[in-house]
Amino acid sequence: MFVRNDLLFLGLGILVPVCASMLVFLFVDAPPLRATELFFEGAFGSSQRMGDTLMIWVPLLLASSALIITFSAGMWNIGIEGQIIAGAVAASFVAREFEASTPVVLTAMIVAGLIGGMIWGGLAGLLRVRGGVNEIFGGLGLNFVATGLVVYLIMGPWSRRGIASTGGTEPFRPQAWFPTLDGLRVSPLSVLLAIGVLILVLWFLSRTSYGLRLRATGKNPLAASRFGIRTDAYLLLSFLLAGGVAGLAGVTQAAAVYHRLVPSISGGYGFLAILIVLLAGFRGQWILPIALFFAAVSMASFQWQLQLGLHSSLGGVIQGILVLSVLLLSGYRAISYMRKPISEEGDA
């Protein structure tokens, strides 16, 4: 009976959001079928579009990998945007200051981004563990600080010569760009990096003793401490690791997408990734397709604007509706499961 219910919910989980999006299209006077067609065309219609979709997929994957670490430790890492920015800033520093061959510069940028993100994540962790500041508020505060820092750098010390614009820094030297294949904008290196990191994170969490302790801390800190786990240390560890991984997203954004530092370098991908991880129900393997789907909607919304003349914010609306309907469904599902035993008890 439970299996049938699961299938029913899976079916509804696909059907309801799709129907809801169709209604949105009808509401804005767009042909739903054409819009659907454009969704596939826009996101996967050519190898280049496929590549562009992957380009959005990369930071989403990295940010999701980061978040699954902190979620495993029972923490809401709202500071992820700031951690992405910190990684991008650190990588940009390397790109601006060190002149060397591509492999050397890129390696240095990746290491720097990792460290930058870890510092920012570690700050949120320290605030939580030592300062007793809820990680949500600490993270939000650090996000503002990170944005402030990046704007200061772009307007001040790293500004273009004779220019003071928040538009961004001078593009990096080509040595500091992630290499691409001919005709594609996405760098295979960044895709490999993102997938590799996700696999590494999942391996760490599920296979290692540290990952196990971290998960135990997240699921029940009280019981975990009875097992002799220093839960504070593991909370901090989760923030350090998550920050480092998020910092890598900053590296790819700076070195593979913008090739410079811009104020909105994190692109809101950190927040989007929170939704992805929630939808994936913290199961790592689902992150891949869900993140791809989100990337595809982002690409498709550009096509909807381009070809159907729809407003550019429609993609966000569709994403929001999808998330809401899936969350509503899973909430409804949880409630219906909870109800069952109670009514049975009442009958007996």
């Binding site: 296979r207 290692t208 003793s209 540290y210 998960r215 019981a223 975990a224 401490s225 009875r226």
Partner: protein, 486 residues
């Protein structure tokens, strides 16, 4: 006027909290409800006051059947309950608290409430300023306010649920005085308590509950031993385990330190020997748990002078003490003992001292299979705690105890286990003591305490009131000590 309960039954899942209870309470009577923790007194009080609806059974007041669907329905039917610490809105004034939850009609205005409160104050010698914020009142005064409120709303039956737990001695006298006046005025009072002395002092009759059933109703005063007979099962009177000669050297010493709960503090000076089993008896919350947690290093109620094999470990944390072989098994297995969502294999991996980065899951799985076999756990290595019964959870926790523990601290080691499993667990625990483990455990099971302990400490209201060698312990002795009677 009389209150009649007919066949009240209430179950929570497999637990029968009230098993077909029938009872009559006359007007002007102060009727005691006595029983140990979990006997079903509180559930009955909640049924009468509308907080819990019974599975079956009826309540009649003056031959009229009452509908007790909610607390407010109960109050308007004439039954009011006074909780240990009355639920009040701390920022509101006394008179506003009376208005909250009162029916919105012309008879319940602020002026009338104030008038009523002043009248009650005069009648019972209370001194409550109607306009004072409630947070400035003591718990005793809040009880007085709550009584005034319930009377104003028309209560004719008053239930007091362990009312003396949180108030001082003089406030207690005041409360008892009030209760007596209310009874003289014709009200029915139900006085719920586990304290034998109080019941003897104030009640005219008492009904004793045990495991959800009425064991008997007695007119008071009567010999306390009669009440204990009703409260506790005394079928078996086994002998003490062994003499203290066979015990090893001193393993753990507590000296000169304080064990504090929120009522009383007392000096404790005790030593525990290698291989010794010490039971901590007492009602829930009497202080046994605080002592166990203090020795474990989880609470700072014991702040100084904890010696393990002559070494001062007072400043060491639980994690540190674990390295000396200390181990603590909490009563709340689901919340504090096991990590829900992790499998048995993962628990085994957590408990084993592993320091390499990659866990050897094969080994952990083998190990968990062994534990499942050895402790007859009904589950697989992939089972999660939520899928295990309470007994199986406890077996798992026992299985997770590291090898060769020196000091084992346990709350209710066999609660929820059937007799056979309990016997098996104790066989296992005793085999540990043979190898030099010292065991301290709390329990409310007299048989368990008398059968397995070398010594028993009895706790009452935060202090140890008696130390017994196991040969001195009888059900009657323990029962009266638990009720605070030496």
């Amino acid at each position: 006027m009389s209150l009649q309960l007919r066949s009240i039954t209430k179950t929570f899942g497999p637990i029968v909290a009230n098993d077909s209870l029938s009872l009559t309470i006359e007007s002007g009577e102060i009727h005691g409800l006595l029983g140990e923790n979990g006997a079903g007194k509180s559930t009955l009080a909640k049924v009468l006051s509308g907080f819990v609806s019974p599975d079956s059974g009826t309540v009649e007041l003056d031959d009229e059947q009452l509908k007790l669907s909610s607390p407010s329905a109960a109050v308007s039917s004439g039954i009011g309950i006074l909780h240990q610490e009355p639920l009040v809105f701390l920022d509101f004034s006394a008179v506003d608290n009376m208005l909250v939850g009162s029916p919105r009609d012309g008879n319940h205005t602020k002026d009338l409430a104030e008038e009523h409160l002043l009248k009650i104050c005069e009648q019972f010698n209370f001194s409550i300023d109607p306009l004072i914020p409630v947070q400035k009142l003591s718990v005793g005064e809040r009880q007085q306010l709550e009584i005034a409120r319930l009377l104003w709303l028309g209560a004719r039956v008053l239930i007091l649920d362990e009312p003396t737990t949180a108030i001082s001695g003089s406030q207690r006298e005041n409360l008892f005085q009030t209760i007596r006046s209310l009874a003289e005025a014709g009200m029915s009072v139900i006085f719920v308590s586990h304290k034998l002395e109080e019941i003897q002092e104030i009640c005219s009759r008492v009904t004793v509950l045990r495991q959800g059933r009425i064991m008997g109703t007695k007119h008071l005063p009567c010999p306390t031993s009669d009440l204990i007979d009703l409260m506790f099962d005394r079928e078996l009177e086994p002998q003490g385990r062994k003499s203290s000669d066979s015990l090893g050297s001193i393993c753990l010493e507590l000296c000169g330190q304080k064990v504090t709960t929120h009522f009383e503090s007392g000096k404790v000076d005790m030593t525990f020997r290698t291989g010794e089993i010490v039971g901590l008896a007492g009602l829930e919350g009497a202080g046994q748990r605080d002592l166990l947690r203090s020795i474990a290093g989880l609470d700072d109620t014991v702040t100084e002078g904890v010696f393990f094999r002559s070494r001062d470990i007072g400043d060491d944390s639980y994690i540190h003490r674990m390295q000396y072989g200390f181990h603590y098994l909490p009563a709340d297995r689901g919340r504090e003992g096991l990590v829900d969502g992790l499998t048995i294999t993962e628990h085994v991996a957590l408990a084993s001292p592993q320091r390499s980065i990659a866990t050897d899951w094969k080994l952990s799985r083998e190990e968990s299979k062994k534990i499942i076999d050895k402790f007859s756990i009904k589950g697989t290595p992939e089972s999660v705690p939520a899928s295990l019964s309470g007994g199986n959870q406890q077996r798992l926790l026992l299985g997770l105890i590291p090898d060769n523990p020196t000091v084992l601290l346990m709350e209710h080691p066999t609660r929820g286990l059937d007799i056979e499993s309990a016997a098996w667990v104790w066989k296992y625990l005793m085999s540990l003591t043979e190898e030099g483990t010292t065991i301290l455990f709390s329990s409310s099971d007299f048989d368990e305490l008398m059968t397995y302990c070398d010594r028993i400490f009895v706790f009452f209201e935060g202090a140890i009131i008696q130390e017994l060698a196991s040969v001195e312990a009888t059900t009657e002795r323990l029962g009266s000590l638990l009720g605070g009677v030496k």
